[in-house]
Subunit: 734 residues, 2 copies
């Protein structure tokens, strides 16, 4: 492994000395961001008595004591994902933890650990130049990207505050001159772009500068943190949180990034509240902080994993540090909530501060159930008028069924070309799934743990999602700048009737001249064992196009209504670009009129029943082509190809039956619904017929006009027969 140590002597002595730490005595200073004496007393009183506090404390103590036993190593900077990189990350975690342990226990070994480590950093840091391996990122000095360095500072500020009183003035002067002043100079003077940037990296920069500002008493730093490098409100924390979130609190980059943004967002907010309560940060923008946190919680599946919108890890969940901190903090700052207690039950831990104390006490005093979220629609864009994300939910606790559709903004550099994409959760797993990012986080042999080339060529492309691809190209032709200028639109959202919930959204001109409207129903019916999805995807165009509707599933194909031609002894990719180059064409078929395909996933069968046209083609694909380093995770998918100018894909996804290999039991491997047909569609409405076993017959309508209105009357003719309904949709059972 290569090591990097460049030596640059910086002439920065005149900068940042406003902090003047040397002139204070220990006794006249309160803790700015570390635990107060009251908090220390309250937590200590609960250790050994309260389960959540005790467990959280034991984990902290074990981790910290293990860190102390390993001694101190402050290596020169290294490459991303390598030992040195990971060690510097571990060091800030260890210092922060040691700070809390020192406050709680008063044991000076923890304070010495922090001091000695800061000493080592103070010896090295002034010697460092910009990290040479930054690639497309703004470089730090300890890390290849500045982002990691701001995280280092945000954590270390808390550790430093914890031992501030305990240190000698000489220590403080050394650390501030040799580390903090230089770091803040790097962040705010040499790279001011970052602190002013409306982006989660910007928020990290602002929060870290603000936190150390409070700790060392440098209000100038705090003001840059709050209002930007120019201190005029065009950058900095307040501008960032004003623009990064919709009025509902929805974060444009999606939940994976919001849980990461949550740390600077919440830690700095709490620091502001403690040090400048006059700013009333918790009331800011109609209690934005509350909305952001709750929208993040609602963007989770029932197991606590975040719905993987845009670039996202598929396994990141509400146990992430920022979410753990937020659960305690929100409970404390905005008042008790049973769903937060349910979240704490999944987290099985609390943050050790006054907030954690309050939550932990309530948790033990009442019965706690797993959280049950209701259906919700989030608006997107800072003005709340740039589409959104809809979530239909049914069922209780961790056995909920969830249907999500994405129809908001693109989401900047981490955005995917996936408007009108949907995901479906059932049977405690993601059945129709989102690939997430293509990245093996922190695994050094996999491109240093960074985003892989396949993130661009596969994960972001339209065909990697469950939405229509036109002419084999991605939305916006895969151009991010074009995509950032557009957004999809919400059309209607009705979740009042638990047995029939529906959401409809539009994405126009993501392909020039092509207008798309997708309407998704989540339907519960006595005739069906589980809720089913009804999907009506209408496309309008004045030119003929080829349309592909991919469905990404897992598990094992079981049966279909049609014969399939398997490419049994030679596979070729389905295309040459826009993600198709990564899909092996395993088999194809021509389902005439309506067709269905059944697969097994876990203990349940799933059948996709879809309307057909004379030229319908059906592909069985599998990921893995043109992936020279085996970076992609292989899964199968279906693609239903049809063509035309105006066209409607109508389909149903039905979960059914039960299979257990261990019990050797199989029940109802056939779906109830067997047939879907588009009877008619025009600019007034779409009429779809759904048939199944036991004489099941449904007629579903969707309003296609421009003025959604729950009370308007509509009519469409199907072969001289008038179909009438009131409102934006109807589902009639015969």
């Amino acid at each position: 492994m290569k090591k990097f140590l460049t030596i640059i002597i910086l002439a920065v002595l005149s900068f940042g000395l406003i902090s003047c730490t040397g002139d204070k005595t220990a006794s006249d200073r309160l803790h700015k961001v570390a635990l107060t004496d009251d908090e220390v007393r309250d937590i200590n009183a609960l250790i050994g008595k309260n389960g959540l506090i005790t467990r959280s404390y034991n984990i902290l103590k074990d981790e910290t004591d293990r860190a102390l036993s390993h001694g101190i190593d402050v290596p020169p900077p290294g490459e991303s994902g390598g030992y040195e990189h990971e060690k510097h990350k571990q060091n800030y975690r260890d210092m922060k933890n040691a700070g809390i342990m020192f406050r709680l226990s008063g044991d000076e070994k923890y304070a010495r650990f922090i001091r000695n480590m800061l000493d080592a950093y103070a010896d090295m840091y002034p010697e460092l130049g910009p990290h040479p391996l930054s690639y497309n990122q703004r470089p730090g000095k300890l890390f290849h990207q500045m982002l990691n360095e701001t995280v280092w500072l945000l954590n270390t500020a808390q550790a430093y505050d914890s031992i501030y009183d305990w240190l000698t003035p000489e220590d403080r002067q050394k650390f501030e001159e040799n580390i903090f002043n230089l770091m803040v100079y790097w962040f705010t003077v040499e790279n001011p772009h970052e602190i002013d940037r409306i982006h989660n990296h910007g928020m990290w920069t602002a929060a870290s500068v603000g936190m150390i500002g409070y700790v060392v008493g440098n209000q100038d730093w705090v003001n840059m943190a709050l209002y930007g490098s120019k201190k005029d409100g065009t950058g900095g924390f307040l501008a960032q949180i004003n623009e990064l979130f919709s009025p509902d609190g929805y974060y444009m980059e999606g939940a994976y990034y919001v849980r990461y943004a949550m740390r600077p967002f919440l830690f700095f907010a709490e620091a502001i509240e403690k040090n400048q309560p006059e700013l009333k940060i918790y009331e800011f923008r109609d209690r934005l902080i509350r909305k952001v946190f709750y929208s993040a919680l609602q963007m989770t599946y029932p197991n606590g994993a975040f719905i993987p919108v845009n670039d996202a890890s598929r396994s990141m969940d509400i146990k992430a540090p920022g979410m753990l901190y937020g659960t305690s903090l929100l409970y404390y700052r905005y008042g008790p909530d049973d769903n937060l207690l349910g979240i704490a039950d999944i987290q099985n831990s609390v943050y050790l501060n006054a907030a954690g104390v309050k939550l932990a006490k309530d948790y033990e005093s009442k019965p706690v159930k797993r959280p049950t979220w209701t259906s919700v629609e989030f608006t997107d864009g800072a003005d709340g008028k740039q589409g959104g994300f809809g979530l239909l939910r049914t069922g209780e606790g961790d056995d909920q069924t969830v249907l999500g559709m994405k129809y908001g903004v693109h989401g900047l550099g981490h955005g995917h070309f996936d408007k009108l994409h949907f995901v479906f959760w059932n049977q405690r797993r993601e059945i129709i799934h989102d690939y997430g990012f293509s990245r093996w986080v922190n695994i050094e042999p996999k491109f240093g743990g960074r985003y892989l080339p396949e993130n661009e060529t596969w994960a972001k492309q339209t065909v990697a999602h469950n939405t229509v691809v036109v002419d084999g190209k991605s939305q916006n032709n895969g151009n991010r700048k074009a995509a950032d200028k557009m957004h999809a639109d919400r059309f209607f959202f009705h979740a009042d009737n638990p047995a029939l919930q529906v959401m409809s959204a539009r994405a126009d001109d993501y392909y020039p001249g092509v207008k798309m409207q997708r309407t998704l129903f989540l339907v519960e019916d006595q005739a069906l064992e589980y809720p089913v999805v009804v999907d009506i995807f209408r496309i309008k165009s004045d030119k003929i196009h080829t349309y592909d509707l991919p469905l990404h599933y897992r598990g094992q194909y079981m049966a279909s209504s049609f014969e399939l031609r398997n490419h049994r002894d030679q596979l070729k990719p389905l295309g040459a670009d826009f993600g198709y180059e990564h899909i092996w064409n395993e088999a194809e078929a021509e389902p005439e009129t309506s067709g269905w395909v059944t697969w097994l996933d876990g203990y349940r069968y799933y059948t996709w029943i879809f309307s057909g046209t004379g030229d319908s083609k059906f592909f069985f694909g599998r990921l893995g082509a043109n992936d020279p380093n085996f970076n992609l995770i292989v899964h199968p998918l279906y693609i239903l190809r049809q063509s035309g100018k105006d066209h409607v894909y109508a389909s149903v996804i039905e979960p059914h039956g039960y299979f257990s290999e261990a019990e050797e039991v199989s029940r109802q491997a056939d779906s109830i619904i067997r047939y879907v047909k588009v009877l008619s569609h025009n600019d007034t409405g779409t009429v779809v017929q759904i048939n199944g076993q036991n004489n099941l017959e449904w007629i579903v309508t969707v309003y296609n006009g421009d003025k959604p209105d729950p009370e308007a009357e509509h009519e469409v003719y199907v072969r001289n027969q008038k179909i009438q309904w009131i409102g934006n949709y109807s589902l009639k059972k015969y």
Copy 2:
């Protein structure tokens, strides 16, 4: 779904009337196979008091009450896996359960349920002819194969005995004349081959005939069950259990089938003990029953799943009904054992009889730990001289590491061509795995739930296993009859030193003129985080052959020591037959001298480090070619191809590091061991050098002669340097 009802009037009135049930009164008869009055009293006393008994009772009661609420349906026979087939299976389960519930509660609704159902069977059964959809199986009348019908009878005999006293003489006469007599006639007169067959189907037939014989008091039937249709000991239960098991209790078809065979084996044994204690069945053949049950338990992974030897479900585990019954029974009949309490802990249930009462009482009276099995070698063949199965284990409870090697007999019709195949369990999962069978049990759309064509073309073939393939063909050229005439041989097995366990076995002439010896070490070392496998596979031949060593893994390829050429835009199968036609050739490489490949599986990395030759070729394969109906489960595999006459594959499998995507932590993605070299090999011994980071250097030797002896001295020269060791192997660390 098609229905089958053929009507054949059987003239069987003169047969089977020896049973003469009409002449007994209720009061003069003891229960033959159902719960005795003492058992009823003891169980009832524990319901609501003892956790295991209460839980087991509640499950039984819930299931039975649900069955009663659904009413009775006795449909005409149907196809395998279809509704009717499953319903008849459910019916015998429901009747058996209702019998126990009637005995325990005395509530006549349970008795009426059984009587009414038997009534329906008695009306239909005489009308039935042989099932027309039997394929290659002996047909039943209710079911497509007679096997299912024997299971029906074994269960129904218990239900019938439970209500025997309660029934009127007229009922009994009707049921016996119209069902049991006809069924036994079908089993013993029209198809006597089955009861005489040395096979698990034979044991089911014998046990079912014997059970109903005891119940109706027909000793002639019992004698056929015990001694065969000719009552001369050439067939029947005693001959079967004499020949199907090795002296160690190892079952030639493997654990998947033994758990199924366990039910007739144990239920009938217990019936014999109750009704003919003079046979001393529990002492039979040096307590064979005990050995069989314990060998089945030891053929499980730490999660309770059976090691999938030969045709086997990969998820069948010790919760199977026969294993549940056996845990209670063995504890009762052979005395207390903490490991059985640990098994009951996984099962979380007991059988409701005197045996279950004893186990459940002890379970509650002492602390119970998950079972820890030790390393063990089973001999194979009725004489114990036909090779065996070796299991090396290290670690405790459910965190054990397990290494298993198969070197016994072929295993009849369910046998695989897989001698010297191994499996490796680590991190609570099967890392180097066995495919098991190719079958979707009971899933009607998948070939009626029967064995699939790919079971022959893939699952049984040598390349589907982790053992050497010669010239691209399977062992015995894939001919089962040839394979059944041979067996592999144990060579040595040493498990005394937990840090260095080793087993060695041979398989000669499975390829004409080719002799193979595989020696597997399970090694623990301070320098390594987890136990590693050292694999030394020596091949002798006087002709030049191509050798392939496949390694079947799961998860994601991470890195290798060599460049690989990925077939990025076109895949072809690796071969045309012997299973190779099912493997896509995804990439290939020429690793020179020693090479390694690392993959990620779960939370841990695994590296295979192997010796090389000038012509080594390495293939990255993936299952799925020539699988027109997507019957196969797709997984990746590696194949290391080398050639020569005499040749040694030496390799190490090292688990290392940690990865958690949710925590975004990766640690030690590189293995410690980096280099393996064969220094020398001849008919005295093989010498292998293993090197790694931090100056790790091992020299491993294996004895290759014909007289294994732990005390013999051996020497081999490596470039004029004498390497000496004592015993069958050595591992020296420098």
